[in-house]
Amino acid sequence: MSTRISFFDVGNLGKVGVQTFLKGMASEKFSATQAAGFLLTRQSSQQVEGRYVQKIVAVESFDDPFGKKYSYERTVYTEQKFILRLESPNLVLFDSNSAGKALMGRLSEFSGFRVALKPLNWAPEELLVSFAKRFAPVRVFAATVDGLKLSPSVTVRLCFESSDDVLTHVRSFLKKKTTAFESLKIEFSYLASTWRCELRRNGSIQIYGDFDPSITSAVLELVHRHVVRTVIKTPA
């Protein structure tokens, strides 16, 4: 079990306001008779937390060995858990799936097509510094290096794993070559439990283990601080 958290910035959210989205979501509340809609768990003027649910009914049929035809209805619910908030990152998706695309379409329409949804991306090693500050000690037990050029025609992808800190081994192996980490897998302790996480360059974090609200909110808070700090450091 794991939870993948994807982060997005919503341009113009300040101007449009969370209330606009709340209105739209309230008008499309999911019920037994609806094929798709929103189920909200928490809402305020600053933040909305909920799920976008889609109900898909398919008729499946099969033939028995005697040539008799049978058919039955199969209902599948797909849901996209999300948090929309004024503070950055504005949109957080949990285990994004096909309903996530539809959710983004709904958000775009609610705003009158005035918002820009931009997936975040970051350098995993920079995010690691933030993790180390918050959850020290942090151990990096695996790393993926992508786009390492050996020659103009050869590019390699390397995966490292170690029982102790892998970063020292990566540095000694790659020596002076400039590298960009695709992902870092880390291990740390929080509230008397040990957690494992994967920090990816594409702006997502995967938390291994069963879903836990306390570690999730701690990670969200950390990412918020990291993003604010990075934006202040590198103004547009």
Binding site: N12, A35, I56, G105, A116, L117
Partner: protein
């Protein structure tokens, strides 16, 4: 299926026949079979160009050319639709009779074949087969047999016509409209969507955003392709003003550095309307002129439809075109894969009707806003 047509009075020379026999038109095995029939026996391993060169020296005959044309017939990409609502029509109009009159006037003169079908008591659909001639192409490929559809629906004093957005269909519709009898004491009024006089980019964009979220029974899901432009048609006032100003500004312009100008942008991807690039473009005066998007059925969220809407001339914006391109669903087993669901002609007609009414609704709203301002 659009197939090439060859006039029997035109003989193909060696070069034209050689090109007609190219591998994109006729498979190597078929070429050898054809050669055998003409008395030329080749090994299977013979070079295709050599076999064609030998065969091209034999005189071309009409049945062979016709056979090649039939084998290379491919379905044309479906054309977008456009529509017009004719107002103030008399109750005496019989749409079946209108089609018959148009057929009499045009069929022989323009070489058109009419196949009318009654869809419902108030709706008729006519399939027209015609030969499209393109003199800019090589003689062999100049003539193509094509089909177009015109659909007429009568509702009280209004006759709605939906047809393919091409010049031939427009001519047929003009002939049809000329046959329509109007209510005594009133003139015929044609309602068609045109944003020609609207020079506010926000309003032009709003027209499209209202359509994509206004299809009855469907919710907007995703925009996959978008064209934006920032030019507007020049009016006579603009031209006069420009003449006067150009003399004064002429010298200054020469001194100015040459600046780049992007007139239009095409954006392709997912959620294109929610990208920073599009938001920046709209903020700097660009408007939507063509859009491809998908919608989700409100009654069955497994059904998606892909639609397209735009203007034939994006700047003039005087001829609105639209179409429902595809219906699809995600595979239940692998939700990232899309599976196309075939659309029957009647379903397509219904979906196009929904799209058209959303477009007219949006157009009416835009007209009201323009009148207010």
């Amino acid at each position: 299926m659009a197939k090439y047509v060859h006039l029997s009075r035109i003989y193909l020379n060696d070069q034209e026949y050689y090109e007609l026999l190219s591998p994109k038109n006729i498979a190597h095995r078929d070429l050898l079979r054809l050669a055998r029939r003409r008395g030329l026996i080749f090994s299977e391993k013979v070079d295709n160009a050599d076999a064609r060169a030998q065969l091209a020296l034999t005189p071309s005959d009409w049945p062979t050319v016709k056979h090649i044309f039939e084998s290379m017939a491919r379905p044309d990409p479906e054309e977008q639709k456009t529509s017009v609502h004719v107002q103030n029509c008399s109750d005496k109009n019989d749409i079946e009779e209108l089609i018959r009159k148009t057929q009499t006037l045009r069929a022989e003169q323009f070489g058109e074949i009419y196949v009318p079908t009654k869809v419902s008591p108030t709706t008729m659909r006519v399939e027209v087969t015609y030969t499209d001639v393109d003199y800019s192409r090589a003689v062999v490929y100049q003539r193509r047999e094509k089909k177009l559809w015109v659909e007429l629906a009568q509702d009280g004093q209004t006759i709605s016509i939906i047809h393919n957005a091409n010049d031939r269909a427009k001519q047929i519709v003009e002939t049809l409209k000329a046959q329509i009898a109007v209510v005594a004491g009133s003139a015929r009024k044609d309602d068609a969507i045109s944003l020609f006089g609207i020079t506010d980019p926000a309003l032009r964009t709003k027209f499209f955003t209202q359509i994509i979220s206004g299809i009855e029974g469907y919710t907007y899901e995703n925009t996959t392709h978008l064209s934006v432009d920032q030019r507007f048609p020049k009016t006579t006032e603009d031209n006069n003003q420009a003449d006067g100003e150009s003399q004064q500004k002429g010298k200054r312009k020469k001194a100015d550095a040459i600046k780049g100008m992007v007139n239009n942008l095409a954006l392709t991807g997912n959620q294109v309307l929610a990208t920073e690039l599009y938001q920046d473009a709209t903020a700097s005066g660009y408007y939507i002129c063509n859009i491809w998007w998908s919608c989700l059925s409100k009654s069955d969220s497994s059904i998606h439809i892909d639609c397209v809407a735009g203007f034939r001339d994006p700047i003039k914006a005087d001829e609105f075109t639209f179409d429902v391109v595809r219906r699809w669903q995600y595979h239940l087993e692998s939700p990232d894969r899309e599976a196309t669901i075939p659309i029957s002609p009647s379903e397509k007609r219904q979906l196009n009707g929904l799209l058209e009414s959303a477009a007219f609704k949006s157009f009416e709203a835009i007209k009201k806003e323009v009148t207010k301002t």
